[in-house]
């Protein structure tokens, strides 16, 4: 099914300025795999070369952090939004 991935402002230049992209996926992991194929520049800013989500990136499905659910195996259903968010960090 098609789900919407919401792109933070800081990463929109990595996907042609879009604020959201559509991917076909039934889970967060599948959505990232789709991004790897369809938006490789965006993907490399979200995941490192081992496929791990970068330390200071948070993924939410709707309003829920995926780590509070099933992590990358969190299911995506019709109308769900996958948010890519930058974590509060730095100094």
């Amino acid at each position: 099914m098609s789900v919407s991935v919401q792109i933070p402002y800081a990463l929109r230049s990595e996907c042609g300025g879009k604020s959201e992209v559509e991917v076909s996926a039934g889970s967060v992991r599948q959505a990232l795999t789709a991004l790897k194929d369809e938006q490789p520049k965006l993907y490399r800013n979200v995941c490192d070369e081992t496929g791990a989500v970068r330390k200071h990136i948070n993924l939410f499905v709707n309003e829920s952090l995926i780590h509070r659910n099933d992590g990358l195996e969190t299911k995506l259903g019709p109308g769900d939004l996958l948010f890519i968010m930058t974590a509060v960090s730095g100094g």
Partner: protein, 363 residues
């Protein structure tokens, strides 16, 4: 005609570029470039039209390589940063060194976790150099406080010297196909074996092109029970090393720099080993004009007290004018310039972010 001095200053909050005429009377400053994230390495590449490269360590989105063709008025990202091959299992954590290769687009990058990458297209694509990155010793290397980093690349034709913290000095004599640990005489204060085959915490290696075979090393010294392992010299291409620390207040420090026109003249910044700051808060650069046999303290113009900063491994350099200036940046954000071989110092900028690296070129 080369008539300007350009400095690249990598800081915790991005890259700054300073520029002055050859008189070095007043430096202008531009930046920060690179999204305000840490820059650990920079290169002013003068092999053709001057081009600047810099690493940009973005904690959120990963590593980038920045490049500028207008001496740092604007930067763009190269098409790719070094990337470990699929299935390798390692992920790029930082880029500690950017060095020119043999032809005009050949670049080398030393990275964390300790590995070497090479680009043949000006940094747009990179290939891992397996001879060191997959070396049989690599599983036994371990990170120092700054991470497991390959920070020094010194090239001399087919001879390539690498400094790894904490891995030691590795030498290739076949253009980077194979590497061997070359640490005879390089000590380790933190290892049960005071002189292990590898695993030393090398801080920096330097050489002068007019003195083939001679190398200088700032190693992790400062061990009361194992003195004289921190500042070293080799006269046989790094196969054996001897201490040249006699006369220094401490053999702990990070950078070691060779005078651009005299292979016998070197500079170090001794630090108090426990705090890694200037001894007694009195900063000084120490110079030897005898290849390390004797040392002289250079502190005129530097703070007389309260100077408790650190000068990191890539934060000291020289320009290449006839009477070169020496530059160092501090973890407290000052950029100092030493005139007349370091006899007198002046502060060019006093409120930058903490400085990781300083590079200079005359263009």
């Amino acid at each position: 005609m080369a008539d300007r001095v350009v400095l690249c200053i990598g800081t915790k909050k991005g890259l700054f570029v300073a520029e002055a005429s050859k008189s070095r009377g007043r430096f202008s400053l531009r930046g920060p470039f690179g999204s305000g994230v840490a820059v650990y390495s920079a290169l002013i590449d003068t092999r053709k039209s001057p081009r600047i490269y810099a690493s940009s360590c973005n904690a959120w989105f990963g590593m980038k390589v920045l490049t500028s063709t207008d001496l740092g008025k604007k930067f763009k990202e190269t098409k790719s940063a070094p990337t470990f091959p699929e299935g390798d299992g390692r992920a790029l954590a930082n880029i500690w060194s950017l060095e020119p290769g043999s032809d005009s687009k050949d670049l080398w990058a030393g990275v964390e976790p300790a590995s070497l990458f090479r680009s043949e297209d000006g940094g747009n694509s990179w290939e891992m150099v397996a001879g060191i990155s997959n070396h049989k010793h690599s599983k036994d290397w371990h990170p120092g406080a700054g991470g497991l980093c390959l920070h020094t690349i010194v090239r001399d034709g087919d001879r390539i010297h690498l400094g790894i913290s904490t891995g030691g000095h590795y030498l290739s004599e076949d253009g980077g196909q194979t590497f061997n640990a070359a640490n005879n005489g390089v000590g380790a204060g933190f290892d049960p074996n005071p002189y292990p085959e590898f695993g030393q915490c090398v801080h920096k290696i330097a050489r002068h092109p007019d003195a083939p075979g001679r190398l200088y090393m700032q190693n992790h010294g400062g061990w009361p029970e194992r003195p004289g392992i921190g500042v070293l010299r080799s006269d046989d291409y790094g196969h054996t090393w001897q201490s040249i620390a006699d006369g220094l207040p401490s053999d702990f420090g990070f950078p070691i720099v060779v005078h651009p026109h005299d292979p016998d003249t070197i500079y170090v910044v001794p630090l108090e080993p426990m705090t890694r700051t200037c001894p007694e808060g009195k900063p000084a650069v120490w110079r030897s004009t005898t290849g390390g046999k004797k040392w002289k303290k250079l502190s005129k113009g530097l703070p007389k007290h309260g100077g408790y900063f650190t000068v990191l491994r890539d934060a000291m350099t020289t320009d290449t004018l006839t009477s070169p200036a020496i530059y160092f940046g501090t973890t407290t954000g000052q950029l100092w310039m030493g005139h007349d071989g370091g006899e007198e110092w002046s502060c060019l900028f006093d409120s930058l972010p903490p400085i990781n690296c300083v590079k200079a070129a005359v263009v």
